[in-house]
Point group: C2
Chain length 224, copies 2
DNA sequence: CACCTTAATATTGCATACAACCACAATTTC
DNA sequence: GAAATTGTGGTTGTATGCAATATTAAGGTG
């Protein structure tokens, strides 16, 4: 029943539900859907090639995750953060993400470390090639590894909630070349700390990384 | 279309959607739905007096909030935490929640403080009357005030995610009378600190409160 | 008797139809 | 001419039907 207009655009998942969620999320991360933009159920359904039902489920999920906002009978729109919101975001991350790094690094598997290295490299490549819109998703995956492996289920949940908004804030867009370079160096150093299985080192680097990021974003937004 | 079997059981919200969510959540908080229990869409739909659609939306929302777990093609069940999970939960709360108290207390309105006092009183009354099943919801509302008013949107979101599981863990059930009394005293002292608009005091009491709660829950689960 | 196969049943996944609602514009009324 | 009102197009909210999948039970086979 969905084989008419387009061959199901491209399949992120096998189920309509997962597919809708994955594609919407990817659109949010890449910036195709700008903050404040309306997300019309019918439009999205046609674009993704499923009915409105899985779209609604995906939107609800994204709303629960804080990536979109739903107004009753009006629809969903991409969240848009104020500069203050984003500063707050980094405050919370500075408080808790280093701790997650401390906990997770000794627990990382070989594959985790390998994946961290790969992601860091991919971000580096994206910067070189000027494909900055890819950075949000890659960075989310990178930090996600520390968050997921910290061994405290609830800390993971809380940090996941904190990390997700960065995906739609497109913070990298406002970095200067120098700040970008510094951020990439931090990633490389986090990989090194992970390779060395040195949790304290990772914790320290993570704190530096986040405070530097906060500065980059705050200064960019305060003097336009 | 729902006026046949029962006069809509009792209306928590005006919309089917909100109503389903509110009622399910209330059932979870009160313990009517035990951890591990299956949540059948059809059964719930009939019980609440709406169709399966709003039930599904509510279940998805609850799943995103971590109160139920959905297995594809199998259905949803109430989350059940291990003793270790619950200990982890209190570790995270001990880290985050005192800070939220510090931030929120100076920002509380008169009504907020009044409401805190009322909730503390209601919990006291519930303890006296032995209606322990009501405590989870009341306690969630009490702590929720500090969380919501902390002024940092993202800290609120993260703490909301942390606070919710306590609602289904029914931790008060395992408190000794002495521990219950102590917990109630902490609540009263939090109200006092809020009245005095002393954030640091509230922060300190909150830390005490959570660490004591952790001890109560951990010792109860470790020697059965 | 144990084990595999197969049929029946229950439950979820998804699509679709219709109703309720909102926003905005054209029209009427003062 | 301004304000209130009604109409209309579009969007979301909810119910329902059918298809797909999992679970259970029964039956057959080694």
């Amino acid at each position: 029943m969905n084989t008419d207009s387009t061959p199901p655009d491209n399949d992120f998942g096998q189920n309509a539900d997962e597919s809708a969620y994955a594609q919407l999320r990817s659109m949010l991360a890449s910036g195709i859907l700008q903050p404040g933009a309306w997300l019309r159920e019918k439009t999205l359904a046609e674009r993704i090639g499923v009915s409105r039902t899985p779209i609604r489920e995906a939107l609800n999920r994204l709303a629960a995750e804080g990536l979109v906002e739903i107004s009753r009978n009006k629809g969903a729109q991409v969240v848009s953060f104020t500069a203050g919101d984003i500063a707050d975001l980094y405050d919370v991350r500075a408080g808790f993400e280093p701790h997650a790094a401390l906990l997770s690094v000794p627990r990382l598997t070989e594959e985790d470390v390998e994946r961290l290295g790969l992601l860091a490299q991919q971000m580096e490549d994206a910067v070189q090639a000027g494909r900055h819109s890819e950075l949000s998703a890659l960075n989310g995956a990178f930090h996600g590894i520390f968050v997921e492996q910290c061994g405290n289920r609830h800390l993971s949940i809380a940090l996941r909630a904190i990390l997700r908004p960065t995906m739609v804030a497109h913070t990298f867009m406002s970095y200067t070349p120098e700040e970008l370079k510094r951020s990439m160096q931090h990633h490389a150093e986090l990989v090194a700390a992970a390779k060395a299985r040195d949790g304290e080192w990772a914790e320290a680097v993570m704190r530096v990384h986040i405070l530097a990021a906060k500065n980059a974003v705050v200064t960019a937004n305060s003097n336009p």
